[in-house]
Subunit: 288 residues, 2 copies
């Protein structure tokens, strides 16, 4: 990518955790000057050691003269932004976020900043915090934006070309459909998975519980990974996408009932047919 | 391990899939002569190319003179063994299995062979079939045996020392507790995970479904991995451990209700506290 193609001169990244840190690494690799803003002095020092941005500070002034600011903050901070941060955002800069729920963020931020673009990458690892940033996290992954009638089309286009230069697949949709979709494939799994962990914890027979802990293998670890994730993030997801999750839980309960009935009735042919269908369906969904 | 410590001279492995093939590789590495029995000529040829056993055949006679036979067969074949196989098992050999449900296997096999040891390794990958065998699959993993009053203590001891030489952690428990425990951490997750896949499949809104498929990320892939596994194996697990799974589903539904109530009532403090507990609990269980 040569300098003339670049949409931005200086990019501010607010938060240098998994998403912000990974962005900082990739954007510098693309030749951008990246200014990182973090909460704590400790984090700033560590982020400097790791080279997550060109310049790093705990002072909001670092966003001065940035023509793009990426808010790589947790959902709850995006939905309750600090006044100091709002005051520091340059009026002419394009501003985007990385929150996994879009309708409430768009509703709030379109009134907070004239060039706000609601967007987020579908990418992650099980890590979090300043140590979590990795190169090429976004390569080949979807990056969704949810513009509405108030969205500045030029700002949207500039984010699109930046995201494509990161190697992501650009997707545009409306915020409600987006939230319903991630409710199903990203937020509902957190609840389903957390409930499985609690089920094992509720086992009253001590020998069975001890044995279950000893024997838990990769299957249990995989199925419960998202349910054992960051509690604050899980709560923020649920709080900002409750309708979609509750709708998903209703559907889910029906599916669970069907499996339970087949097992209770010993309908093994029916169960095997059902499992064949879910196997095929998963391949289709996961290969995306 | 030197030759004098070895409990067995010639080991028969029936089935050279993930477990049988991996056993074949490790046992040869330990210096054992391994005779592999498979169903099909094609499989035998491929297993030979991959070096999964010292000698490989589709003829049951290959088990002659084996002093240990490991039945590395799927659950449904273990519970409905072929007469030809039964006739080919040397009377004096120790015989063990690798089935993940122990009570029905023990009940059947203790009447089929005088030196049968019900056992199984808690190890796996997402692969299956003759290509799936890997070295060191069992290292550091639990290997459970479920002896009862009819079990030959010498035969049990010989399996124990073999399993330890493979690097596994030897665990002895009774078959009922074992089945209840794996019901919770291994079989219940299959149902929970499969129901999640079906939930996405039932989404009637086509744009939401299309978007969900596009956006499905590592979280969805992990949570649904076991639900998208081998349908025949899943059905055999459910059929042979139905009581434990149904009991687990009852407990699970209560946990799900609790999460749903917190979300429906907007009890975010309660939800976050709950997610903190499940996060801590998962670490304890998964670290074993």
């Amino acid at each position: 990518m040569n300098r003339s193609n670049r949409s931005f001169k200086k990019i501010g990244v607010v938060g240098l955790g998994l998403i912000g840190g990974s962005l900082g690494l990739d954007l510098q690799e693309l030749g951008y000057e990246v200014n990182g803003l973090v909460h704590k002095q400790d984090t700033a020092l560590r982020a400097k050691e790791l080279g997550l941005a060109s310049t790093i500070s705990t002072d909001e002034q670092i966003l001065d003269n940035c023509d793009l600011v990426i808010l790589a903050l947790p959902l709850n901070e995006l939905l309750n932004p600090q006044k100091r941060l709002l005051n520091a955002l340059p009026k002419d800069a394009v501003v985007t976020d990385v929150g996994s729920v879009k309708a409430p963020i768009l509703e709030l931020w379109r009134n907070l900043h004239g060039r706000f673009i609601a967007s987020h990458p579908m990418a992650g690892t099980s890590k979090a915090g300043v140590e979590a940033g990795v190169k090429n996290l976004f390569k080949g992954r979807p990056w969704v934006s949810t513009p509405d009638s108030t969205t500045d089309p030029e700002a949207l286009k500039s984010i699109q070309s930046l995201v494509i230069s990161l190697g992501s697949k650009w997707i545009t949709t409306d915020a409600e459909n987006h939230d319903a979709a991630v409710g199903l494939i990203s937020h509902l799994p957190v609840v389903i998975s957390a409930a499985l962990i609690e089920t094992v914890g509720r086992e009253q027979n001590k020998s069975i519980y001890a044995l279950a802990s000893q024997l838990a293998s990769s299957g249990f670890a995989d199925t419960t990974r998202v349910g054992g994730g960051n509690p604050t993030l899980g709560t923020a997801m649920a709080a900002s996408n409750a309708k979609a999750i509750l709708r998903g839980l209703d559907l889910y309960r029906d599916c669970l009932d069907k499996f339970e009935k087949q097992i209770a009735e010993g309908n093994w042919d029916g169960l095997e047919e059902q499992l064949q269908k879910t196997q095929a369906l998963r391949s289709k969904i996961v290969s995306g």
